[in-house]
Amino acid sequence: MSALNEFLQHVANGLVLGFLYALVGIGLSMVYGILRMINFAHGEILMAGVYLALPVSALGAPAWLVLLAGVAGATLMGLLIQWAIYRPLLKSPEVTLLVASLGVSLLLQNLVLMLTSPQPKRPAPAPLLDQPFRIGEIVLRNVDLAIVVLAIAAMLATHLFLKHTRDGRALRALAQDMNAARMMGVRVPFMVMICFLIGSALAGVAGVLIGYKYGHLTPLSGFLPGLKGFVAAVIGGIGSFPGAVVGGIILGLLETFLVGYLPDALAQYRDAYVFLVLILVLLVKPSGLFGKPETVKV
């Protein structure tokens, strides 16, 4: 395999990974934009969504139906959590929400574990998704194509919603200045719900796609995507929708290239490099690549 093709393969892999991270990061970013809270349970919502879709898959449903089930499951979970726990805490200091989300994350992990089992699960194989997809010497699978297509579609839909619908504009107004928006008549609790709905739905898409791509799901499977999505959101500018997208792609490419080109002795420290980059971004351009300059520094 020529060096050029190897490079292009890495690019392709990195992009697919990046779009997955972006899907997760958008939800996190939107929630932060409005509630100023880091939802540590976002990854678990992703995991709960795909776990809820597993029985649907076991019944023999086609992949698109499983996807819908996962989205529905994650959305339901996200709405439930925000209604029961986050919304009552809207007016509390940021730390309270953060800690509550930590609690939710621990709760969901162990609840799913108790209700299922620690053994890895996977959706029933979807032969169409497993088909290889070749561009010259670059090899991907249909599921990778699905990830890119669905991610772009979801992001486009979200973007259109935010820009052209009344609720979308209300959401952006809320992110800018909650009090002013409230005074302009924006119903805050309803908007918070919409925000979580979108974020959780996107996480649900990511969760099912992860299930099909890797075929390995455990109750702890939400943790890493959640963390990576978070890193992506911060790099791109937490609170910014396009930022999460760009941040996700950067993160996906960065991880792939670090492993692909560094000698192993250095590449082992991959996660450390990623966080170093993160810290650098925070120090140099703290609001991230696309974020609004809010008071980040003392």
Binding site: N110, P118, F223, D264
Partner: protein
């Protein structure tokens, strides 16, 4: 803080001493177990506990040990060191067990074993595979599986002799000691016997995307003759699938993590070809002992043994029961002494001789080839001498 709150707090502090206990029948032989049912090690240790419980059930149904029923007292290690250490303390000092069987990670064992050693309680490691593990603790420490070196040396020699490989690419999980160890031992033996290791590539525990590593393999010219996959349970099928679907046709050799019934299902029947792995004993029905174990496990739990650790847990309890039967009395010391008299233990994870002073069994490694969706044992071997 008001005075009342202060008094309440003090009373509560006094109440700390009154930790409750549930159950615990008298006149039973207490064997303690420490297995993590939550956290990242649950996948490995949950089947080990199930295997252990099955063994207890069978032994008790057959009359127990020396007329007494065995009572298994288990505490969840929670994949957390402090909790594992606490569990060991609890078993030794509160429940006063006569023997302990537990953990499938060497680090976990090293954290809990000194506690049993100090109290003179035999503690059998179920799944931790650092070579010479018991030697680091003392004469009450024993281990059930063979060490990482055994498994990896056999794999290296198999690659060189049977597959005729001259060059290897090593993929390993860089975050766990077990995978680093078998990768290291493989490379040591492979290079010592004339092979060349082209590259070692590390991934992180939890990574499910091996595309970067696979691309590296594809970009290596000339391509390696064999890939050694030092992975933890669960990652194996995912990697094999991704590699084969990317067009990598190079033979893959794995460790005992590959030994699980879902390997072919999750990897894909078309992909699990040119695939070999080393393990404790073939989970194949050819061996009547293993076949009975698989059937009993399925009958009890509804699924076949999920991985090799189920068998290790099963064998560990059986070994302890054997020792108890052979012991002169049922004190902890006698039980421990009895372990050294066991020279021909037959288990589902292999036959073992525990009489050597290292307290690690002298066991054979089984090599399995995956052919037509089946696990086909190729042979049982021990590594050649240095």
């Amino acid at each position: 803080m008001k005075r009342r709150t202060f008094l309440v707090a003090t009373t509560a502090a006094v109440g700390v001493a009154l930790l409750p206990r549930i159950g615990g029948a008298a006149d039973t032989l207490k064997i303690g177990t420490i297995f993590s049912l939550t956290g990242s090690y649950a996948t490995i240790e949950d089947p080990a506990l199930k295997g252990a419980r099955l063994a207890v059930k069978q032994i008790n149904a057959a009359g127990g040990v020396k007329g007494q029923q065995i009572e298994l007292i288990q505490y969840d290690g929670k994949s957390t060191l402090a909790d594992i250490a606490n569990a060991a303390q609890r078993l030794v000092h509160e429940d006063k067990v006569t023997a302990i069987v537990g953990v499938c990670d060497s680090g976990f064992y090293l954290a809990s074993a000194p506690i049993a050693q100090d109290a003179g309680i035999a503690y059998l490691d179920v799944g931790g595979t650092v070579p010479n593990l018991p030697e680091q603790i003392g004469e009450y420490a024993h281990m059930m599986p063979f060490g990482d070196d055994y498994q990896a040396y056999v794999a290296a020699e198999f690659a060189l002799k049977d597959l005729g490989a001259k060059s290897a690419f090593v993929l390993r999980d860089g975050d766990t000691d077990y995978t680093r160890a078998i990768a290291q031992f493989f490379q040591e033996r492979f290079q010592k016997r004339g092979g060349k290791v082209i590259e070692e590539s590390s991934y992180h525990t939890g990574d499910t995307d091996y595309s970067s590593h696979i691309t590296k393999i594809r970009g290596t010219s000339p391509p390696p003759d064999v890939i050694y996959a030092a992975m933890n349970p669960g990652d194996d099928a995912t990697f094999v699938r991704q590699a084969r679907e990317a067009g990598v046709k190079i033979p893959i050799i794995g460790g005992d993590a590959f030994d699980n019934p879902d390997l072919v299902k999750n990897g894909g029947a078309n992909n699990t070809v040119d695939l070999y792995f080393t393990t404790h004993m073939a989970m194949s029905k050819d061996n009547p002992l293993v076949a009975k174990f698989i059937d009993a496990y399925k009958a009890e739990y509804g699924v076949p043994p999920e991985n090799a650790f189920a068998g290790l847990g099963y064998d560990s309890v059986n070994l302890m029961a054997d020792a108890m039967n052979k012991a002169t009395d049922l004190s902890s010391k006698s039980i421990n002494d009895a372990i050294f008299t066991i020279t021909a233990f037959t288990g589902v994870t292999g036959n073992a001789d525990f009489s050597n002073k290292k307290r690690a069994p002298d066991k054979e490694v089984t090599i399995i080839a995956v052919k037509d969706g089946q696990f086909v044992p190729i042979g049982n071997r021990k590594p050649t001498a240095e």
